[in-house]
Symmetry: C2
């Protein structure tokens, strides 16, 4: 995509990060959710879909260290769901309040498949937006929260089981880590991304764009209760943040000062391009593998 | 929709105008185009679809008197069109250059139907965004350009004929009236809207939101060559602007100073709620009728 567009002026970042960064620190991002691709209506309500559509967009702002300004939504609503538009809107409205990201406009149109496209604007932090490209050798790698819960819930659903409520919540009502993203920026984070496609894939984007390698310690990965290490490494849809920063004490202090649970250090950035995962079985390559969206 | 969302703070306008107006004069809008609903791929290329998706969003900024900052796009691309994403992007990129509205980010996902959702940000004019709600008795009603061309082209296509190239251009490559919108704002426009649904329907929104009536002189309506008065009054997709302003001389001067063709005065706002269309056959009610999007 970047090859077909002009280059941005100095100080701006366009395609290729979680959100675009424009003059004056304006952030701008969009993400769409398609029925049968990004969600399965057997396993979530339309209010859940509305919530998640805003959550994943606010997560893109969080991954820059940003603060939401506002959201707009374009909805394609099939005739058989025309009565369900209010439920979708209610889910969006509840999320808008929860994330302090007011829904200020939109467009509803008829069409064959339910599609919910949200766009958000935000403010970059005063210290500048945290890009994917700034990781440096010697930085530590951190993740917020616990990983793999959404994938574990999806797998249980697919197997015909009823996941525990806290696993279901990870899948259908993810919370964007806005305060954590701001704390990471304040703590000198050098690169950041949200874990929407899976830790392996998303960390891979940071490594690609920063031109560095990594050494990840499997035993340090915070697996969500009910999730395996494989779910945590390669499951998507968690909307936790992964960031790199040189000073662990400063990170710990910034999160504590903001009243947030400390992020988990899971490895370190190396100068060599190798991407190493250390487990009890020894060392192997950490694949830049993620989660293909196929109804979750 | 407005009833399900909180009220905006003073000085902001959320749902219900062409674009939302936020603190600091930030404008924000979104519009989606759906294959088979808003366009028919027999009659346009995917580059045309990309152009038009950005054009209709920039037209929403124009209708506030605004200037584009940037756009993002979310594309749902069916497998059978996966090779055509570049053509779509090229149409968007050409339009982005033409409208000085850089495309700074996006999201492409697979799905059963082609959907192109664009969102745009812009700056309100220094004198404040021009809303739909400000028309006052005594104001004149103006339209830019000529109306009905897109509808005439669509009707000819539907009848199996080949419309003249300038009619086809009205349908597939509409130009948002950004300079005209800015000139109208500078000339003291009290209300403005873009004519995307048809003059009757869109003027109806201004009258509803301003609480006024109107008297339109049919003979003054600037019909596009090849279009009937009915096409001009009720055809949609023209993306011309309709605005109200008290001082015709000031409007004429502002457009001339900007090197723009003068807009056409087509009637006047009245205090009474009546909506009157005057033609050679006498007076009748101007219906708030527009154009149902069914493939154009």
């Amino acid at each position: 995509v970047r090859a077909r567009l002009p280059a941005p002026p100095p100080g701006e970042t366009w395609v290729g990060d979680d959100a675009a960064v424009l003059t004056g620190g304006l952030l701008f991002a969009t993400d769409a959710m398609v029925d049968g691709v990004h969600f399965d209506r057997r396993w979530c309500t339309l209010a859940d879909v509305g919530w998640k559509a805003l959550a994943e967009n606010c997560s893109d702002l969080a991954a820059m260290g940003g603060t939401p300004i506002a959201a707009v939504v374009a909805v394609v609503l099939p005739a058989e769901l025309s009565g369900a538009g209010d439920a979708l809107l209610d889910g969006l409205a509840v999320a808008a309040t929860a994330f302090s990201c007011p829904l200020v406009g939109g467009d509803t149109t008829s069409g064959p498949t339910l599609v919910v496209s949200v766009a958000v604007t935000g403010h970059a932090p005063a210290t500048g937006a945290v890009l994917r490209s700034g990781a440096r050798a010697g930085d530590n790698v951190f993740v917020t929260g616990a990983l793999g819960g959404a994938k574990a819930a999806l797998d249980q659903r697919r197997a015909g089981r009823d996941p525990a409520p806290e696993l279901v919540a990870r899948m259908v009502r993810p919370a964007p880590r806005l305060m954590e993203g701001a704390a990471a920026a304040a703590a000198g984070a050098t690169a950041m991304i949200d874990i929407s496609d899976g830790f392996g894939a998303d960390l891979g984007h940071v490594l690609d764009q920063s031109g560095v390698g990594v050494r990840i310690v499997g035993a340090c990965i915070p697996c969500h209760p009910g999730a395996s290490l494989d779910d945590a490494l390669f499951g998507g849809d968690d909307y936790e943040l992964c960031f790199t920063a040189p000073d662990t004490d400063r990170v710990t202090r910034a999160f504590a000062d903001a009243g947030l649970a400390a992020p988990t250090a899971v490895g370190s950035i190396g100068r060599e391009p190798a991407r190493v995962l250390v487990t009890d079985d020894g060392e192997r390559e950490l694949p830049a593998r993620g989660w293909e969206h196929t109804v979750g």
